[in-house]
Symmetry: C2
Subunit: 279 residues, 2 copies
């Protein structure tokens, strides 16, 4: 069995013998692990030992309490997946362990968080940046790995590390997809069978947008209209679907590569996001 630490003191003690060798790898997660997380752990173990996986559903980053409540929790299967993927240690703290009193200190990344998920989910990225700062101080990893599916989150973490001089190297890992193209997400498990079939429309729309850009289309409005039409499905609500500058994470009117095409939709009650980088 993979060792699990539930306390901050416990994980710090467990990591003590491994410090100063410059190769602690860290994969922060909210649990409900899937093949996307497995990929993060596999990439980590190629360059790091030990690889530490944290499992913590962070209340601070949920803008909707019911989304927090509904978020899947299954420690046993998560431990099995982490171990099988090559992790050496799991940190699974409780909420009171991470927030013994009301959180009063926040890390905020401005600019990058004005649009897209930052606009749709007030306080979300502040919660993400704050908990990642805490986890970095607890684990003190040399390398931390994040998935490209959450492109804006990745940009926020990279900016935070750069601006605050965290001594941590950030590694971005490509999105893992189902055979039909749907990006893996813990939230996919909530989809009913018909919703699951519908959900792939987000990938189709992003792929269409990328084709248009690669074919020379530069007008973001046209791209939004033509590719976004694939999202007009029963049961689908569009949160955003747009073209963004990877440096600023702001919408651009001219889609000159490199740009992200990014989308967030709600399929029934489940919010899904995805993106493609067009070089």
């Amino acid at each position: 069995m993979i060792p699990v630490e539930h306390t901050i003191d416990g994980i710090r003690k467990a990591l003590e013998p491994h410090r100063h060798r410059g190769s602690i790898g860290f994969v922060p997660t909210m649990g409900a692990l899937h093949a996307g997380h497995a990929r993060l752990i596999e990439v980590a173990r190629e360059q790091c030992k030990p690889v530490v996986v944290s499992i913590f559903v962070n209340p601070l980053q949920f803008d909707q309490p019911e989304d927090f409540e509904r978020y899947q929790r299954n420690l046993e299967s998560d431990l099995a997946l982490a171990a099988n993927s090559g992790a050496q240690m799991v940190f699974a703290p409780s909420a009171p362990e991470m927030y013994p009193s009301q959180a009063e200190t926040f890390v905020e990344v401005q600019g990058l968080t004005q649009h897209f998920c930052g606009a749709s989910r007030p306080g979300h990225f502040r919660g993400v940046a704050t908990v990642v700062a805490k986890l970095f101080h607890i684990i003190q990893p040399d390398v931390a790995l994040f998935g490209e599916k959450d492109a804006q989150q990745l940009a926020v973490i990279e900016r935070m590390v750069l601006n605050l001089n965290f001594p941590v190297a950030i590694v971005a890992v490509p999105t893992v997809r189902e055979p039909d193209g749907l990006a893996l997400s813990s939230r996919n498990a909530r989809l009913a069978p018909d919703e699951r079939r519908t959900a792939v429309c987000l990938y189709h729309a992003l792929t269409r947008a990328r084709e248009l850009i690669h074919a020379g289309e530069r007008d973001s409005h046209t791209i939004r209209e033509q590719a976004g039409a694939l999202l007009l499905q029963p049961g689908v609500q569009i949160d955003y679907f747009d073209v963004a500058d990877p440096k600023t994470m702001c919408p651009v009117s001219t889609a000159g590569p490199p740009v992200y095409v990014m989308g967030a939709i709600r399929v029934g009650a489940t919010r899904l996001i995805d993106n493609l980088l067009c070089r």
Copy 2:
């Protein structure tokens, strides 16, 4: 001569051989070093080696551009004082080294910063917390020392370290005073001789407030009126003079110990702060 590093890479390399021994001491300063800073360094060297002093006038924590411009800078005499007090290394970065692009990531401590200097100087403590977080990530000290003269700043740093799980022990060092009681401050050098004579009224008022509390007075309004009367001097403007809960840094109406008596005044163009803890 004491070694000085001007770059982040430079100080990290210089500290590399000292890491993992658990005894890097750190005294962050804005330069214009005086006997108060010397005390911080002396306390540091009793428990740490090496002791690193940073000298950086942090633009992010100045709410008034002219205050930033006027802030004294004299690296040569600062280096001599740091060396004579027992420091082994100085980190003196430029502003572009610390902020190569516009700062977009901020550390904010709420609650503790609502009153007193937090209210008088918008953005000040956000600037302090942000630069201290950066410096902690650059130096990675085991121990960092701060003066009690800046009681609210000390509370903010302690809260930040606690909330964000920084692996740094914070040591508070008592205020060093002139023979007449005036708290040492880099800003004292700006006082004209008559202003210098007037400035001690802040210490007198705080001492009077403490006497009242120790004599059993519990009404903050009475304390403010009676002790604050000593601040009614020509050329003195009162910013605040009040009784505060050390845990929340909020004003209290009942002065039941432990409480801080805290004051900020402007003597001519120079802003001075001081406090006494009444146990």
